[in-house]
């Protein structure tokens, strides 16, 4: 059997640059977020309110008259509420991307007051971080609700690392809460994942980060100065 081999001496084509958007991707994302969260909510409101008005009208009829229509309206309202829940998550993300950043800077006792703090580094009472303290408080609220959260604190280079126990999410979550949320709005909208993802957006704009490691949230905060 003869096998003919053709060996090409031609050079492989040089890789072509990826096509790029004419406008910065951040602007596109912001515009898309706004369009989705605002423009879609407007007709959704119309449908919800129209369903309410029809229900009011039905209530003036004898109870047997509107049976199937009442059931259909109930289904319509359930669907609208579900869509509203998901649009609300996108609205909160959109606002977190656009909102002006407030004053940054807080000591760890201000951030973690009321929580059970376990320090691997001794007294960290004078340590200041360069973030909006409300964002960190929002994360701790999402983890622990009204209860004190258990927070392990350590220093890592020019960051403070908070490891917060008790983040209750279905499954075995790992990675970015923001990715978890946008990968399944249906599953996570309106849950603590949404609250943490929104805080993550603001925190990353300030040089911090949030990561989910099972039932722990690991929050990295840039040191001030």
């Amino acid at each position: 059997m003869t096998v003919e081999q053709t060996v090409s001496t031609a050079q492989p084509p040089a890789p072509q640059p990826e096509p790029t958007l004419a406008v910065p991707p951040g602007l596109v994302a912001d515009a898309l977020f706004y369009s989705v969260s605002h423009d879609l909510r407007s007709p959704l409101l119309t449908m919800s309110l129209a369903a309410d008005l029809i229900t009011d009208a039905l209530n003036t009829l004898p109870s047997s008259a509107g049976g199937p229509v009442a059931i259909a309206l109930d289904a319509l309202r359930h669907g609208a509420r579900d869509m509203e829940r998901m649009l609300q998550a996108l609205t909160l993300l959109s606002r977190a991307r656009r909102r002006p950043l407030g004053p940054r800077g807080a000591t760890l006792p201000l951030l973690l007051g009321g929580h059970v703090v376990i320090s691997d580094e001794g007294d960290l009472g004078d340590v200041r971080v360069a973030v909006d303290p409300i964002v960190v408080r929002d994360i701790l609220d999402a983890v622990a609700g009204d209860q004190p959260a258990e927070v392990h604190v350590r220093l890592d280079g020019d960051h403070v690392v908070l490891s917060c126990a008790g983040f209750q999410v279905d499954g075995d979550p790992h990675g970015s809460p923001l990715e978890m949320l946008v990968n399944s709005l249906h599953h996570h909208a309106g849950t603590p994942v949404e609250a943490v993802a929104v805080s993550q957006v603001v925190l990353e704009r300030q040089g911090g980060s949030v990561e989910c490691q099972g039932e722990r949230l690991v929050v990295r905060l840039p040191l001030a100065g």
């Binding site: 007709p43 959704l44 119309t46 919800s48 309410d52 606002r95």
Partner: protein, 141 residues
């Protein structure tokens, strides 16, 4: 259903005809004696608002034909300080509400998602407008 004896004129400015009709329907249920004007055509709004009834409450949408209504509120309220603007929007952040107040609006709120919440909101807005009118009368007296 809350019913007020509110009689001051109300102007609804919304280029979404459905929202304007719903707002008007709810207003008729909470303030049946209030004269209501609806403006859904975004053209020449400044001129038409300049002719609005005296002391009217103006419920104005944030986006009118793809244009934000902050400058319109600013312009008209400087010429007609008797008008009480309230901005309504399907989605309104606290920053946007602050911009509305800076532009001269008396208030700003998200459009509610249920008729009962609309009734509550409009009843509150009309009561606030009435309270302001009483304060002004008191100050003059």
């Amino acid at each position: 259903m809350p019913v007020t004896h509110y009689r001051r004129p109300v102007v609804i400015v919304d280029d979404d005809v459905d929202h304007a009709v719903i707002a008007r329907t709810v207003l008729a249920s909470v303030a049946p004696d209030a004269p209501v004007t609806t403006l859904t055509d975004p053209r020449d709004l400044a001129a038409r608002l300049a002719e609005a009834p005296r002391d009217a409450v103006v419920l104005i949408d944030r986006m009118l034909d793809l244009v934000e209504s902050f400058p319109l509120i600013q312009r008209v309220s400087s010429e007609r300080p008797d008008l009480r603007f309230v901005m309504l929007s399907a989605a309104l952040s606290s920053e946007d509400a602050g911009r509305a107040i800076e532009a001269g609006a008396a208030g700003a709120a998200e459009k509610p998602g249920s008729i009962s919440a609309w009734q509550t909101l409009l009843t509150r807005l009309l009561a606030e407008a009435d309270g302001q009118a009483r304060e002004e009368r008191g100050a003059v007296a």
